[in-house]
């Protein structure tokens, strides 16, 4: 029989390793570290088409993630989608008033994200403001449809 002190030490190592593994899974593997701690401010943007965009999709400017999509809902008056963006606190009072928002796709098959492009205005966006200039999510079917109809028109002319 091994002496009980050694057994206890080994069990301690085992339990510590198990807890460390759980901790690593929580912190390093999962999205816990990217959970927004409700800080920051919200701006909204209206789109005709947000297909593919999800809550928690990244909001980027110049390729750097500066916030996340907080909420997407449908406005039954204007038949538009209203997307609420939560921008991190460190970028408060930085984005110009005429910043434009577009929905892009990361790679050909990747996830959708909101890309912001700065304008030149001196005024800045604050809590609750709305982005006026938006560009919709690119829907591949529509694009192919347009392409085919144009192709048909062209061939008809000749």
């Amino acid at each position: 029989m091994m002496n009980s002190r050694l057994v206890e030490i080994w069990v301690g190592i085992f339990v510590a390793a198990g807890l460390a593994a759980l901790f690593m899974l929580a912190m390093q593997v999962s999205n816990l570290s990217t959970y927004s701690n409700d800080e920051g401010y919200e701006i909204s943007a209206r789109f005709q088409d947000t297909s593919g965009l999800k809550v928690r999709s990244p909001v980027t400017m110049a390729g750097v993630t500066i916030g996340r999509v907080k909420n997407i809902h449908f406005d039954e008056q204007t038949f538009e989608a209203v997307v609420t963006l939560r921008i991190e606190d460190q970028y408060r009072e930085v984005l110009p008033k005429d910043t434009s928002a577009s929905i892009y796709t990361a790679g050909l098959l990747g996830e959708k994200y909101v890309g912001l492009e700065p304008g030149g205005a001196m005024k800045v966006l604050g809590q609750g403001d709305e982005i006026r200039l938006t560009q919709d999510s690119l829907v591949l079917e529509k694009l192919i449809g347009q392409f085919i109809s144009r192709f048909m028109d062209d061939s008809g002319d000749n």
Binding site: V11, I13, V29, N31, L109
Partner: protein, 259 residues
Amino acid sequence: MLSSLQRLGHNALGFFQRLGRAHLLLLRILEGQPALVPKFSLVIQQLYSVGVLSLLIILVSGTFVGMVLGLQGYNTLVDFGAEESLGVIVALTLVRELGPVVTALLFAGRAGSALTAEIGLMKTTEQLSAMEMMAVDPIRRVLAPRFLAGFLSMPLLAAIFSAVGVLGGYFVGVGLLGVDQGAYWSQMQANVDLYDDIYNGVIKSLVFGIVVTWIAVFEGYDAVPTSEGISRSTTRTVVHASLAVLGLDFVLTALMFGE
């Protein structure tokens, strides 16, 4: 004709009697759990033989499973130019499925069979009866600490398996195949959810821990007290525990991830 019907009935009755005995035993083991608090050294002893001694096989298999996932995932993803998603594939596969399931299968083979053989031999050599003679309840003294140790070890072992597997996938994907290191982790963090994926994986491993140890302890306690009986019980432990784990895994997956 009649005798074959009788045999069928006999087997069915025997099956249900065993099932009933297993549940009664589980009830008595659970009743015995509060009494373990003052005698926690018994549990520590069992944590050593069930958990610590299983550590090596878990570490080695976790590393290799992760490495294989990295290799296979890379070869599939590279055709779509999506090898940045390798981290997601490795982590989700491990945390949701392979971590709990493979750990439970290894656990049944490594620790479950040992538990059954030990308890079965105690029964055969009448150590359990001797305890009863001394007014020591063998269920509380022998079975309860083993059950608790199995229940506690499984989630820890599964977490170690998954963590080591993710590192193994990292080693192959980033180290050998040249996936971008930042993409490996950031894509993983963006797509693995703490509640949906990791908590559910832990719940799975807790359930598997209960089932595997329960089967192992019951088979040992219910063994026919001969050398042949012990060998049969040990085999049954591994077979039944593995089947139970695979079956339950489907049910749990359907409950957790099927919407």
